[in-house]
Symmetry: C2
Subunit: 382 residues, 2 copies
């Protein structure tokens, strides 16, 4: 660690997403001033930033990326794509506003403000949360960074907020609402594998739902006990059996559309009724909850409602959870993530691209699919 600031350019590049009044999405790179941090601020040289599913809504703005076209130069690419009118209506509040993208990243603190808290971070490798991370440099408040243990790289720390805090937030929600085990869909995702490791470490029963046999195999190799394949004929019976064994009455669903959320409630009701000793006219009195936190299937959610009256389905987001959990709990969560960032909370990537590379049509076609097993990392400095 040095007490002199590293050489910092006057400007840095960042990815921008703009929706025009004509209903076109425009992705581009812009040069922005690199600010000098003051007070409690630190300037981070962003070396790695993951492309998470939660980034794609802001990045793509609901545009039809299968109809995207490329222009500009290799170094200054521009991607345009059409937005359907009903989607455009929902995006009215951001039309004409060029928006920076990227929820989290990892990098080195290269300059700081005058506060002792900020100065203590100079030279440290940190994870950063707070938007605009698909940038070469980001100036943020000290509360937005997580100092990583010695030896942890920017790439290892690039995803230390969204997925780790989401996994911990699911467990916290489960406990806070009185459940003792949980169900997770799209369970072979980076987040799903992380949740599986976390539940194994903390001896929490987890029912993993995947869509392909190889995903089930992957999770079992990583120690998962309960894995159900929603594509198999016996899915509902398999799931009910797993619920009988675990007693899980809360689920976190990344799929959103289709019948899966309702099927989970149906299986939970079956499992609850199997334990009941007498007929209950309105179904079991066991509260069954599914939180939808993603939208891998953008279609409508279809609930058959054959699961009594004690049920709930709702949206779940990390930020409101953290706000409700309170400062001390969040501090504990962050400390644990930092300590276990290369083990429990490790992320893996299948491709690395620079800022321009992230706007290549073939890359967009890949990471835009949000397919399990595909995970992109942006390395702004190449």
């Amino acid at each position: 660690m040095s007490d002199e600031n590293m050489a910092i350019p006057a400007t840095g590049r960042q990815i921008r997403s703009l929706i025009t009044a004509e209903g076109e999405l425009e992705l581009s790179l812009v040069d922005v001033d690199v600010p000098a941090p003051t007070g409690d601020q630190v300037l981070v040289r962003i070396e790695a930033a993951p492309i998470n599913p939660s980034d794609l809504g802001l990045l793509f703005g609901g545009a039809d990326m299968t109809a995207a076209s490329a222009s500009g130069t290799p170094d200054q690419p521009v991607v345009t794509a059409p937005i359907a009118p009903p989607v455009l209506a929902a995006m009215a509040a951001r039309v004409g506003e060029s928006m920076a993208v990227g929820n989290e990243g990892g990098g080195i603190v290269v300059a700081t403000g005058s506060s002792p808290e900020a100065q203590a971070l100079l030279g440290r490798t940190v994870g950063v949360l707070g938007g605009s991370m698909y940038s070469e440099y980001r100036c943020v408040h000290v509360s937005q960074v997580l100092a990583l243990p010695d030896g942890v790289t920017s790439e290892q720390g690039a995803a230390c907020f969204v997925n780790p805090l989401t996994a911990l937030g699911m467990i916290g929600t489960m406990r806070g609402e009185g459940h003792t085990a949980l169900v997770h869909t799209a369970a072979a995702s980076n987040l799903g594998q992380m949740l599986n490791r976390l539940c194994l470490a903390d001896s929490i029963d987890l029912v993993n739902i995947v869509r392909r046999d190889e995903q089930a195999e992957l999770l079992r190799e990583q120690g998962a006990t309960h894995v159900c394949n929603s594509s198999s004929d016996g899915f509902l019976d398999d799931l009910t059996e797993a619920l009988n064994e675990t007693g899980a009455t809360i689920a976190f669903d990344a799929i959103g559309g289709g019948r899966l959320a309702g099927q989970i409630l149906t299986a939970m009701e079956r499992s609850a009724n199997a334990r009941a000793t007498e007929y209950s006219r309105y179904g079991s009195t066991t509260h069954k909850q599914v939180y939808i936190y993603g939208g891998l299937d953008r279609g409508p959610t279809e609930l058959s409602r054959n699961f009594g009256m004690a049920w709930g389905v709702g949206g779940w987001l990390l930020t409101p959870y953290l706000m409700s959990a309170g400062h001390d709990e969040v501090a504990r969560m962050r400390d644990r993530v930092a300590a276990e960032i290369t083990t429990t909370f490790a992320s893996g990537y299948t491709a690395r691209v620079d800022l321009a590379g992230a706007l290549a049509l073939d890359a967009i076609g890949e990471y835009g699919k949000q397919a399990t097993g595909t995970k992109y990392l942006i390395t702004p400095h190449g």
Copy 2:
């Protein structure tokens, strides 16, 4: 009021609902012993009992009543109807058990146990809650009856629990979860008209959703300000406007199936976004809640999820609400219902049938439709 018990027969008749192992529903009348009340019990001569939507699940057991057939005699009718195998599976816990039906009723206390609380009720007209009300006599604990003011008839008091406490429970849920106005569907029902009167009395903004113009007219004649017709082309715009004016962010839905619950959330999100000052990538941060408390449409609930992430849909039942509200609050609710049973909490009926008449196929065809404007009252003693 007299201190000698009225003449009481040794047996009385009651409606029974039985599901056979072969998958057939059988409705019939049986003679049961009339018990002598002891301790805190009172014996009520049931003079009136409403057929509420919440009674039909237990009564019909999911059978296909359009395929019902009648046998027996005019005085001892028997109705049978087939039950589809998947429905039968869900009813497994009640197969072979002859079940008495009827959530609530009104009548006269004709005998009591020895406790002062019970004896004080002798001769009083009371509302009764607790099942098996489609009976000539019911012996219940004093806590299950509500003594009605002088001059109130058994018919006027027959529906003093389910709808009045449900209307009050919706308001209590609204307040308890931090909302200040509410939406109600099937709003021209007996319950809906009652909720409208309650909200007018308590100056609570209510958005009424109906399915026909004449229902809208009926509610407007009763003082309703916000009435939207879900069958009209401009429904979503009309509803959004009503939400803009009221700020309602919670709804109680009696329909259940189809797109209505989701449309309400969509309109709530539109209304919330109209007040927003900047683009929020995950939709508004205003929590939007729909509780489904009925199933007039048995089909699946379809949620388009174009309403951000701060939303919930769930089942709502009166009994768990009362349990969570606590004894003192429920006592206050009951006192208010008794005081306003012929005004705010009045119910109206379109047909009166005796126990045998309630098992006539034409009557079943009518009240089984659960159509707004049709409400049956059973008068067990004719």
